[in-house]
Amino acid sequence: MDLLIWLIIIPLFTIFSIGIFNYINKKFVLPVVFTSAILQSGIAIYYIINRNNLLPQLYNVGNWQRDIAINLSIDNFTLVIFVLIAIMPLLSLLYSITEIQRKPAKFYLLINVLLLGASGMVMTADLFNFYVFFEIASISSYALVAFRDEDISLEAAFEYLIIGSIGSVFLLLGIVLTYQATGTLNMAMIPGRMAEIPVITRQVLMSLFIIGLGVKFALVPLHAWMPDAYQGSPISYIVLSSGLVVNVYFFVLVRILFIFFGVEFFQETIFTNLIVGWGVLSMLFGHGAALQQDNLKRLFAYSTIAQLGYVIIAFGLGTEAGIVAGSFHLISHALLKGAIFFTAGNLHKATGSYQIREMKGMAEKMPVMSIIFVLMLIAMVGIPPSNIFVSKWLILSAAVEAGYLLPAFMIVFGSFLSLGYYLRPVITIYTGYTGFPGKLPLLKFNEYFPTLLLAGICLIIGLFPGYILNIIDTAPEFLLEQSNFIIHILGG
């Protein structure tokens, strides 16, 4: 059954009708939004469970032949993102009920637009259609950064808007030049014609794609927007961004690079070394910059940049083990970072600030939340039995297997470096008791439930990594072998 188009139709219906519901009665908004979020999660879970007999699946929008239609496709590699689509949006919406008091209908609209863009980008197999969904997701991100209407949010939103527009201009240029060089927009027909293009032009095209998408997942020279944007925006958006959208941009870049240019192209040129080195650099840079932050949100933003560095290393290896390890790290980092951001938001209720030095004696005010926070920070470093430990182990072994000993050493070194800044909040929380300031902040159900659920999922993944590995172990088939993808889209 072709359920995948409903991942587009449901958010579209929500976006278009939320204004009408809001006009009739404000009480209708929340049920509509949650119904649509639950339905989307349900579809994603349906595809994850029935992956063996449903995948790969193809959908021709408009019922045209496969070579001229816009195709939507789901294959095993897509499931990496589907795991996140199934979990993150629902929890983020749940958390936002108490966090967003001003104009909630607009917030739900924008979140739905973001979800539409994310699922569209993941599923589409048409290059220009991908650009449209890319812009949909970007535009809602800009607005969500500015949503809190504070000085820092507006300024960060403007900065993000400028950098993001430059990125999307480069992406559009890349897409237009690809169309001019190959005469088609179908992602499956491009790789065959790509081989005729001279090497320099192919490298220019590749750099255009890397710049355009790298802006969005904060590749290191282009990362400047991310800490500012995270500092100024609501927690629900940050969780959705670092937990889903950033990963989607990375996912799409990986797919474009592997399908269009092929692994052989990287291995023939020096690009494998370059990408792995880039990953190491961005990891070290992220850790180093995070050491100097005294705002929790900024610290975790730099930590996200560093963790994406690990993922870049894993995918840059270009081997099957590397891709599995990278996908695993993508998922586990997204889940754990979501839990950490939720916890930071909960702790914020007691202090009213995200500065680390203001959190003194937090263990007295919110004992349970503090313990969870500390445990998760330690898990982020990679102490067993956390899920990050498993994924870092996988990346390490993949790197050693492929013969990259220096990057493998750097991964271990980076983990020790990260211990330095994760321990600082821990020490602050457990020292400097200032006495009991008055009323204890009471956490509502929708505030502690997402935190506990995500933390529990992380623990389960750490103890039984097989659950996730089973889902993603066939992912490399559709990435390393271009012919599999082409046959899947165009037919035999």
Partner: protein, 236 residues
């Protein structure tokens, strides 16, 4: 030479490097022998498959209607974002009052604009135009009304709430055309492939559901751009 700072020099070298690389790749690409299989299909079979003689509209509303619904979402989102970021009395506009001469001639010319926009929307599949251009002319009318008769005259008739309701209904109409294709043609946004009667190419009622989707997009784009404009210009 003193005034050239390091930043400017760095930017200049970066930009010229990019320019040289782009020139090389433009040169390479223009020398390639490309088979435009996609466009050849559109040109050779476009009219008989979609029933629209304007191929751009045929692509926008039939072959690649999925892009168009995404594009409509972008405008929709932008309108609501601008209305969110700029609430009442945030922006103001410098102005010279127009004279009665301008008022009278605008009043004389507005019906003409209506005719043009309806012509563009209705003949979208026959001549250059379509929902987007017609919508732009509709929003241009609201710009003219605001500039000549003032902001309050416009918002007394059409305030942002009412306009966004129209926009919602236009967008829902487009979405329901897509779902119609899903039910009758087996695929989202299927139009001619859903077995809709295409009519004779070149007549007003041809192209299947294309005039209807043009109408929906026209209503949506016109109201969306009007909302953006009303939000950006507020008089105190």
């Amino acid at each position: 030479m003193k005034n050239i700072s390091f930043n400017k020099l760095f930017s200049f070298s970066l930009v010229s490097l990019l320019g040289v690389l782009l020139l090389i790749s433009f040169y390479d690409i223009s020398n390639l022998e490309v088979t435009l299989s996609l466009s050849e299909h559109y040109i050779n079979y476009g009219v008989e498959e979609t029933g629209a003689i304007n191929l751009v509209t045929a692509i926008l509303f039939d072959y690649r209607a999925f892009d168009t619904i995404g594009e409509a979402t972008v405008i929709f989102t932008a309108a609501s974002i601008v209305a969110l970021i700029l609430p009442q009395h945030e922006a103001s506009m410098l102005k010279t009052e127009f004279t009665p001469i301008v008022h009278q001639s605008i009043a004389f010319i507005l019906p003409f604009f209506w005719v043009i926009s309806i012509f563009l929307i209705a003949y979208g599949h026959l001549s250059p135009g379509g929902g987007f251009s017609g919508g732009v002319i509709i929003s241009a009318m609201s710009i003219l009304i605001i500039f000549t008769y003032g902001f309050h005259y416009m918002t007394r008739r059409f305030n942002v709430t009412r306009l966004s309701l129209i926009e919602d209904f236009g967008a829902l109409l487009f979405l329901s055309i897509g779902v119609f294709g899903l039910i009758y043609g087996g695929s989202f946004l299927a139009n001619s492939q859903a077995g809709v009667y295409l009519g004779n190419p070149g007549e007003l009622l041809s192209g299947g559901l294309m005039p209807l989707s043009n109408l929906a997009v026209g209503a949506k784009v016109g109201t969306g751009l009007s909302i953006i404009f009303i939000s950006l210009t507020r008089e105190d």
